[in-house]
């Protein structure tokens, strides 16, 4: 019995009480959303509103939703492209050639955490006014702003992988065997960083799909702004779509979690 006093962990009843209580309270809003979507048009409960999604009585009402979904998909792809084609090569370059820049570079990449999106948008408005005049008001330029938003998360995922791999030796080995630099990066370094790159891409997708502030205030339509518009017309469909995207993000984050664990596992093995 004296061992019990030496445990950091709380007694079993305390663990159970806290987790059940907090778990119950936190599941109420999710369950409420489910109940809300199952309400019948008259009384009682049915799948009527879920059916609306497949066979809409008024397809025009859902038009913003499809547009928003398409736009968010485009933005997710473009943002991932920025992470993979702009951020990742620069990080490799800093790691290999400019070790002294690592600290300032880290500071730069983590900076957007401290700048609220609502503040950034004040400065982005004039920038996008210029962009709108030059490139038109298409949705894709918004990805440049999202690239900044995801910068801290993408940086951390890739850096964790960079720390676990001896990039210098790999690059030197490949170079001494006669590989050109593009070949070194694509065929030798990228495969060794694929876990970090994949993690960075998935987190970027999750962030972009959930982004509302910048799109809303720059008058661009994405999934989140569309949800708000549709909720005014048909709140049930908006809540159904929220549940679905919540489920999607949950799966996405589960995958991210698995991959992140693998990076830490690799790191501890090497340490």
């Amino acid at each position: 019995m004296s061992r019990r006093g030496l445990r950091l962990a709380p007694p079993r009843w305390a663990t159970a009480t806290i987790l059940i209580l907090v778990g119950a309270v936190f599941s109420i809003p999710i369950l409420a959303m489910v109940e809300f979507t199952l309400r019948d048009r008259e009384e009682g409960h049915s799948l009527a509103h879920w059916g609306d999604l497949l066979a809409p009585a008024n397809p025009a009402a859902y038009a913003p939703l499809w547009l928003g979904l398409t736009n968010s998909a485009i933005l997710a792809v473009a943002t991932v492209a920025i992470v993979l084609l702009l951020l990742a090569p620069t990080m490799i370059l800093v790691q290999l050639r400019f070790p002294r820049l690592r600290r300032p570079f880290e500071f730069l990449c983590l900076l957007p955490i401290s700048i609220p999106a609502i503040v950034l948008v004040v400065g982005l408005a004039p920038v996008y006014l210029v962009i709108g005049r030059t490139f038109g008001t298409g949705i894709w330029p918004l990805a440049f702003a999202y690239g900044i938003t995801v910068l801290p998360y993408a940086y951390r995922s890739i850096q964790a992988n960079l720390d676990a791999v001896d990039l210098g030796t790999l690059a030197n080995a490949a170079r001494s065997l006669g590989a050109s630099w593009p070949r070194v990066v694509i065929d030798v370094l990228a495969p060794n960083l694929r876990v970090g790159l994949m993690l960075a891409s998935l987190i970027s997708i999750a962030v972009v799909l959930g982004e509302f502030t910048i799109a809303s205030l720059l008058n661009r339509q994405n999934l989140q702004t569309a949800l708000l518009v549709v909720s005014k017309i048909d709140p049930y469909v908006a809540v159904i779509m929220s549940l679905l995207s919540l489920g999607l993000v949950f799966v996405l984050l589960l995958v991210i979690d698995r991959i992140a664990r693998r990076i830490t596992a690799v790191r501890t093995e090497q340490a």
């Binding site: 806290i18 109420i28 070790p99 401290s114 700048i115 609220p116 030197n172 502030t213 989140q224 809540v239």
Partner: protein, 307 residues
């Protein structure tokens, strides 16, 4: 091989400095530096310029001339009230989130590491911490909105939670949704500190005749205090900078600073000033810089016990 000592004291092989005999040394300097340029230009255009503009426009009037008029607006009672509201909302939800979150972390210690429940709590926390914005607003409208599940249930019991008006769509309605994303964020950020607490310390305490409450009070509390404070600051910053949830819930009015910025951006003139959004943004940045600076300092101290 040359070896360099990085800032954190780790010894890293300086592979980049290893001379390659095939090429003259001076060619190595310029070419890689050009490689940094695209990212540099990108960050300049989409991070430095917008931040500079956000801070700078507060000092300009409608014609682009320098003025302190917008900054003076920060002293107007309406604006002061929104900043106070933002402070209140951030502080209350940060404290509630930190306390409940820390309790959850403590409870999780009682679960087997790598177990299914622990994994589920980890994943649920990272999802719910990201679950801000429009969808969170919907969840709370479905729960305690006018036709929300809990509202209707309570009405059946004879309790009308909206007897004093539909507060869910106003400032008081923000507290519960904010707490909803603060608690999981606390779980994510505070968990590493708690798992870093070594059982050996408790054994040492017991061997020296210390009691269990004595351990928590005299050993665990001082060790955990910096981590707890750091998480608390992060939660404050998180609530303070949050916009989407409030925007979706309160479609009208500007009770907190981010909503005041929305009003200033969309209606052009608030309080008869053109660039009030810039001044408000400047105010937010100053507060965020103080909070995040304090966070970095406290976090450095907290990191001492985590290795």
């Amino acid at each position: 091989m040359t070896v360099i000592i990085t800032n954190d004291g780790a010894i890293a092989p300086a592979a980049a400095d290893a001379p390659r005999p095939s090429r003259p040394a001076r060619r190595r300097g310029a070419l890689p530096a050009i490689g940094l340029a695209p990212f540099g230009v990108y960050v300049l255009l989409f991070l430095a310029v917008p931040t500079g503009l956000a801070i700078g426009t507060g000092f300009l009037d409608g014609d682009g001339a320098f003025t302190l008029d917008n900054l003076a607006a920060l002293a107007e009672p309406v604006i002061v009230q929104t900043f106070l509201n933002s402070f209140l909302l951030s502080a209350v939800t940060a404290v509630v989130g930190a306390v409940v979150g820390a309790l959850v972390c403590w409870a999780v210690l009682g679960l087997r590491e790598g177990g299914a429940i622990r994994g589920a709590i980890d994943s649920a926390s990272s999802v719910l911490a990201q679950f801000g914005g429009v969808m969170l607003a919907f969840a709370f409208i479905a729960t305690i909105g006018i036709n929300g599940v809990v509202t209707l249930l309570l009405k059946d019991l004879g309790i009308d939670i909206f007897a004093d008006g539909a507060w869910i769509y106003a400032f008081p309605g923000l507290f519960l949704p904010y707490i909803y994303f603060q608690v999981p964020l606390m779980v994510i950020t505070f968990m590493p500190a708690l798992t870093g607490l070594k059982p050996q310390w408790m054994e040492a305490n017991a061997t020296l005749g210390g009691s269990v409450p004595g351990f928590w009070l005299r050993i665990a509390a001082p060790v955990l205090a910096p981590s707890f404070l750091a998480s608390l600051l992060l939660l404050f910053a998180n609530a303070f900078s949050s916009y989407a949830t409030a925007a979706a819930l309160a479609s009208q009015g500007a009770q907190i600073v981010p909503l005041q910025i929305r009003a200033a951006l969309t209606s052009e003139t608030v309080l008869g000033r053109e660039n009030l959004a810039g001044a408000l943004a400047l105010g937010m940045i100053v507060i965020m810089a103080i909070v995040m600076g304090a966070y970095a300092l406290v976090q450095r101290r907290a990191a001492r016990w985590q290795s």
